[in-house]
């Protein structure tokens, strides 16, 4: 492979990046690949904002008295950290970046079903983000990302309405993305691409999209009612005014629990693609993995009450939600076993995407298993509202979803940018991230069982050692995240030009140029093989 620098304008063939220049060609584009990049830049910005809040929080927690910021400020930090990371980074991340880029390519289409809605969804996302940034600057919000009433509706005097509007608006971005994916996957698959020949990433996007369109509207109406209560001092959720605070919690969690599956299912899809490619083997139990994705989406709507075990709700309701919460863990476990079995008798290479995918499996397994403590009623009583919960969801969201996103970015970067990045640095960063992550969040499990509640701006001195460990880990994690940011940007100018299929992967996206032309395919391809046809594809796949 030539590593000589190429002058893009002189020698690079026409592709979606150089087809047109100028800001208008980007801001008014209808090309799903360009929209994916618009999202990529936006979510990276929000990730950095959310991470800064986290850094300040971890520094505050170095000392038990918490002397960095006032408690009121700390409360705003953890609220905005949650809101920014969940609504403006995690939920869009893989679907809006990798999904938008890859779904048409993987189904063998020229674009998504509704390109204008796609661009609209990005604008909606930006507007929602601006409202939230305004709220952050104009005084912040201190309700927790969960907005529990009556504190958020009646007592807090922070920018609750502005943030509610921001989140409400951004929800529509999610809905439009999901709608686009479902229609595209149903109606625009290339000839020969049956459902069970689709890459598992598409199954994951499909399952995620189901949740997006069914769950997000409920969040929208909940936030709408909350905003009304806050603005007009009426009593929908506030007992002093006649309402019921637990109704808010039911409505809120009805969306927000499935939302966590929106955040993890796409990563699982990415992991399937990477494991298959870097073991050179079909995913073990393909159909089972596909069905598990849908099962997780469906079951995920039935478990919201496990966030409310200590609210004083009926013991019988608790038992039902506990049982269902245990059941929703099973399809995830099945996937982990299938991925691991794919490695058996494979031909495994240690490129950076594979390191991320394997790291995902390990950390998701840990995070998922710690969910058992929380689905279990008797232990959840002790653990709810403590750092155990914080550790649990960060293992899944960061150890799982973010690693999946990074793995996907490393896997498809050559396709997206037409450039290669330095594998040595990439592998190094992956390891740093893995180590830093565990150092940051493992101590929090212990803190939780010891009884340290979450959302505390200061804490009893006996918890300090574990908090210091966690903050030390966070600094390592932060360094780890910066490294890919640097070399990805570097690679856009100085990275070696990527071939069509640097990894020797199967899948229609790898049959296009790197980067693809605007139309993706000169002729719509016809699919004749099963997915992950690694062993038969000796002739077709270019090993680069």
């Amino acid at each position: 492979m030539s590593t000589a620098l190429l002058e893009p304008r002189v020698q690079a063939p026409r592709n979606y990046l150089n087809a047109e220049y100028g800001w208008k060609s980007w801001l008014f584009t209808l090309d799903h690949k360009r929209i994916a990049l618009l999202y990529m830049v936006s979510i990276t910005v929000f990730f950095l904002i959310g991470a800064s809040f986290a850094a300040l929080m971890r520094i505050q927690l170095l000392s038990p008295q918490g002397e960095l910021v006032q408690p009121e400020t700390y409360n705003k930090l953890f609220t905005l950290h949650g809101i920014v990371m969940i609504f403006f980074f995690l939920i869009p991340s893989i679907p809006a970046v990798l999904g938008n880029f890859l779904v048409p390519l993987m189904v063998g289409a020229r674009d998504l079903a509704f390109p204008k809605l796609n661009l609209l969804s990005w604008y909606i996302y930006v507007v929602g983000g601006l409202f939230t940034l305004f709220a952050a600057i104009a005084g912040g919000v201190d309700t927790g990302w969960t907005f529990y009433t009556p504190y958020s509706s009646t007592y807090s005097n922070t920018q609750v309405t502005a943030v509610a509007v921001g989140v409400f608006i951004t929800g529509f971005s999610s809905i439009l993305t999901g709608l686009n994916f479902i229609v595209t996957i149903h109606k625009m698959r290339a000839p020969g691409l049956t459902w069970f020949r689709m890459p598992l990433f598409l199954w994951a996007m499909y399952a995620t999209s189901l949740i997006m369109i069914l769950g997000t509207p409920v969040l929208a109406i909940t936030i709408f009612l909350l905003a009304i209560e806050h603005l007009f001092h009426v009593g929908i959720f506030s007992p002093a005014l006649g309402g019921d605070p637990l109704l808010f919690q039911h409505l809120f969690w009805f969306y927000s629990h499935p939302a966590v599956y929106i955040m993890i299912l796409p990563s699982m899809g990415v992991v399937s693609e990477i494991i298959a490619c870097f073991s050179r083997k079909r995913i073990f139990g393909y159909r089972v993995v596909a069905f598990s994705s849908v099962a997780i989406a469906v079951l995920g709507f039935l478990v919201w009450g496990h966030h409310m075990f200590v609210t004083g709700q009926s013991v019988y309701a608790g038992l039902v939600f506990s049982l269902l919460s245990f059941l929703v863990a099973i399809p995830s476990a099945i996937k982990v076993f299938n991925w691991t079995s794919t490695l058996y008798k494979g031909s495994i290479s240690y490129d950076a995407p594979m390191l991320y995918a394997l790291g995902f499996i390990g950390l998701f397994t840990m995070g998922g298993l710690t969910g058992l403590f929380l689905a279990s009623l008797a232990t959840d009583v002790h653990l709810n509202g403590t750092y155990f919960i914080v550790a649990h969801f960060h293992y899944i969201m960061v150890g799982g979803a973010v690693m999946g996103y990074l793995g996907g970015m490393h896997f498809w970067w050559p396709k997206i940018s037409g450039r290669l990045y330095p594998n040595g640095w990439a592998a190094f960063a992956a390891v740093i991230i893995f180590i830093g992550f565990n150092l940051t969040f493992f101590p929090q499990f212990v803190l939780g069982y010891l009884g340290m509640p979450r959302r505390y701006a200061f804490y009893p001195a006996e918890f300090q050692v574990l908090n210091v460990m966690s903050t030390a880990g966070a600094s390592v994690l932060g360094v780890g995240y910066l490294i890919p940011l640097i070399y990805f940007i570097w690679s856009m100018r100085y990275g070696p030009v990527a071939p069509k299929n640097p990894w020797g992967a199967t899948g229609l996206e790898w049959q296009t140029a790197s980067p693809p032309t605007t139309e993706n395919f000169a002729e719509i391809p016809v699919v004749t093989q099963e997915a992950y046809a690694y062993s038969e594809a000796e002739q077709e796949v270019n090993l680069g």
């Binding site: 048409p104 289409a109 020229r110 674009d111 998504l112 079903a113 509704f114 390109p115 809905i175 709608l179 479902i182 229609v183 595209t184 149903h186 109606k187 625009m188 369109i213 069914l214 769950g215 997000t216 509207p217 409920v218 929208a220 109406i221 909940t222 709408f224 009612l225 009304i228 007009f232 001092h233 009426v234 009593g235 929908i236 005014l241 006649g242 309402g243 019921d244 109704l247 409505l251 009805f254 139309e519 719509i524």
Partner: protein, 228 residues
């Protein structure tokens, strides 16, 4: 690239599709999925209303008795009529009858406007009676007598839901009116043919859905007080 653009202008087909049928299929699935999201959206507030009605039955019945059932029933008929004219408009587009398409669209808009007008009258009435939560809540006289037994606070909760649910519905109607206007402008220019009339069908489905939401709202808000 230029070929695609010309094809699009000629037949209304967008470049990402292989043929008009595929585009039509995609459009239909798209609007149905969108309507599912709307069901979930309204479903949330309907469920909350149902729960509070179960908690505070006397107050909610009192609130329901205050509503003007004649205006509500009239609006129901108006909307059902508008769904009929909308369906006829789709049929006209399907059969290539441009004038009828435009005429039925305009009729639908007139009926939709009538609905909003009557709704405006009802809202005005609430201000006159001082039963607008938070903004003007000071019921008196007969209205007070109707609401007091169930508890004024919970009656206010009823009216919060009244305004929230009918307000959201009215907002959807207004958006629908905008979509109808857009269709009228396009139809007059001859954009729709028997081969390509998906936008009319899509807006039609949206309009029918908004109508169905009202069909639920009317009994839940107006009739459930049981006063006959």
């Amino acid at each position: 690239m230029a070929d695609h653009v010309n094809l699009e202008h000629a037949t209304g087909m967008a470049h990402q599709f292989e043929n008009l049928d595929q585009q039509q299929d995609a459009d239909m699935l798209g609007i149905w999925l969108f309507l599912v999201t709307e069901i979930m959206f309204f479903g949330g507030v309907f469920a909350s209303y149902a729960i509070y009605r179960w908690f505070y039955l006397p107050a909610f019945e009192g609130g329901s008795h205050i509503l003007d059932i004649r205006l509500g029933a009239t609006n129901t008929i108006v909307l059902l009529g508008s769904s009929l004219t909308m369906a006829l408009s789709v049929r006209s587009a399907q059969t290539g009858n441009r004038r009828a398409t435009v005429m039925f669209l305009i009729l639908t808009m007139i009926l939709g406007g009538a609905f909003l007008g009557i709704k405006g009258v009802e809202y005005h009435q609430k201000f006159v009676e001082h039963i607008v939560p938070s903004l003007d809540w000071a019921p008196e006289g007969k209205v007070l007598a109707e609401l007091a037994p169930g508890g004024l606070q919970h009656a206010e909760l009823y009216f919060i839901f009244y305004f929230a649910m009918t307000g959201l519905h009215a907002l959807h109607m207004i958006i629908g009116m905008g979509l109808l206007l857009w269709l009228v402008l396009r139809a007059r220019k001859g954009a729709f043919t028997p081969h390509y009339f998906a936008p009319v069908e899509v807006v039609g489905l949206y309009w029918h859905f908004v109508d169905i939401v009202w069909i639920f709202l009317f009994p839940l808000l107006y009739l459930i007080g049981g006063r006959y």
